[in-house]
Symmetry: C2
């Protein structure tokens, strides 16, 4: 049986990786990944063979990993954040159906919802929903339905992929949907370049967020009815009763 | 300015901690935490002073950390999982209002939603909601509303605190709510003792989950309409369109 390690490297900095992820990458022969993430880790793992494919070539990247493993090499497939949150582990299992002699081991990493939350303060302390605004593989109606459901049920909401060149007004649309149930003063936040050079966290109101343009390296948090700003930080309490 | 590091240690094993978390704990004088978590990390950080309070004494634990920091000592407050997901970072900011000379730095850790997902396969790949079934600080009606909203909007759902001695039928109740919108065959999973001795992952249907008794060391995942079982693993696809 061959094994491929599917490794979440966290936001990017070596220190934000788990000890296990670093150990696994050190022990591998080949590290496969999206070009940008391979460049982030390369210097910390000298002597490895690095294989990359560009964005939107994810299936090809998986095939590459399985073919290397079939040669008997120890392979890691890396993803930013956690491999299981909008990451490659799902597709690896799907494509893995064609490679019954190779098993997968998933090594967790810090996903943006939590690594960015640490920059803003404590936005996620209670129940939360994670929603991607990318409609590349999901119809917008489905995304819209989820935003409305999460806002109505007073979840804290974390938005991945809030913007791209073709979808510059999606965050504004999402805020308009939340505004049907939450107040304009609802405490929100966004973080740009989490755990990388140029990291920037901002705490603001839902109304201000609606008028803010963010880029594709940004993650967004929308508070619930209890979320407050404390000394510039975004903080959600543990519950709805007096503690 | 004094600094307290609020550190998520992940599920428990040293290897599942981030490199940064391990570095911070090594550099501290005092490590404060819930007795059980302190026992999990103690052996890896010799020479530190460890201060603990039992469960339900969280506010006291925070005060303890701030008082140590005011003495000029380097203090870490540890939490299992991520400090920002049902963790201590929120309460630390709230109590921190009384300690204006101490700042907090939050160090992320792997939360059960993602560390347990890695055991089951790839259940969270797409949009998901995280809900705690504990009604200690949240009215059950609010929890119920969130479960229904998440199920109707076809989120993958991750349930924290699915059971306790007093709440042995809460998981069954939650499954009944989800069954109003999702099929009995919906692929689900649960993991006991994530990242610790006795770790056990199980993949089963929603109907089977409804009849399963889990303990308080268990986390539960309920798939969306697209989640499948592939070679014994729980796998959610990346979207709703053909890839």
């Amino acid at each position: 049986m061959n094994t491929i390690y599917v490794v979440g490297i966290g936001p990017g900095a070596y220190e934000k990786m788990t000890v296990e992820a670093a150990q696994v990458l050190k022990s591998c022969d080949v590290i496969v990944g999206y070009t940008v993430y391979v460049d982030l880790v390369k210097e910390h793992f000298p002597g490895k063979e690095f294989l990359t494919t560009p964005m939107k070539r994810e299936a090809e990247r998986c095939e590459l990993a399985f073919r290397e493993a079939e040669k008997g090499r120890k392979v890691a497939m890396i993803c930013s954040g956690d491999a299981g949150v909008y990451g490659m582990s799902g597709l690896m299992y799907e494509i893995g159906e064609q490679y019954p002699d190779t098993e997968l081991r998933i090594i967790g990493g810090l996903t943006a919802a939590t690594s960015g939350a640490a920059v803003l303060g404590a936005p996620l302390i209670h129940d939360f929903a994670v929603i991607s605004l990318s409609d590349l593989l999901t119809p917008w109606e489905k995304i819209e339905k989820r935003i409305l459901a999460a806002a109505e049920a007073d979840f804290v909401i974390c938005l991945y992929n809030p913007s791209s060149r073709k979808r510059h007004d999606y965050l504004q649309k999402a805020c308009d949907l939340v505004l049907r149930y939450q107040k304009p003063e609802t405490v929100c936040g966004y973080v740009k370049n989490i755990g990388r050079e140029g990291e920037e966290g901002h705490v603001l109101t839902l109304e201000q967020l609606r008028g803010t343009e963010v880029d594709m390296f940004t993650t967004v948090w929308i508070g619930n009815s209890q979320t407050r700003e404390l000394r510039g930080k975004m903080v959600t309490p543990r519950g709805y009763r007096n503690v």
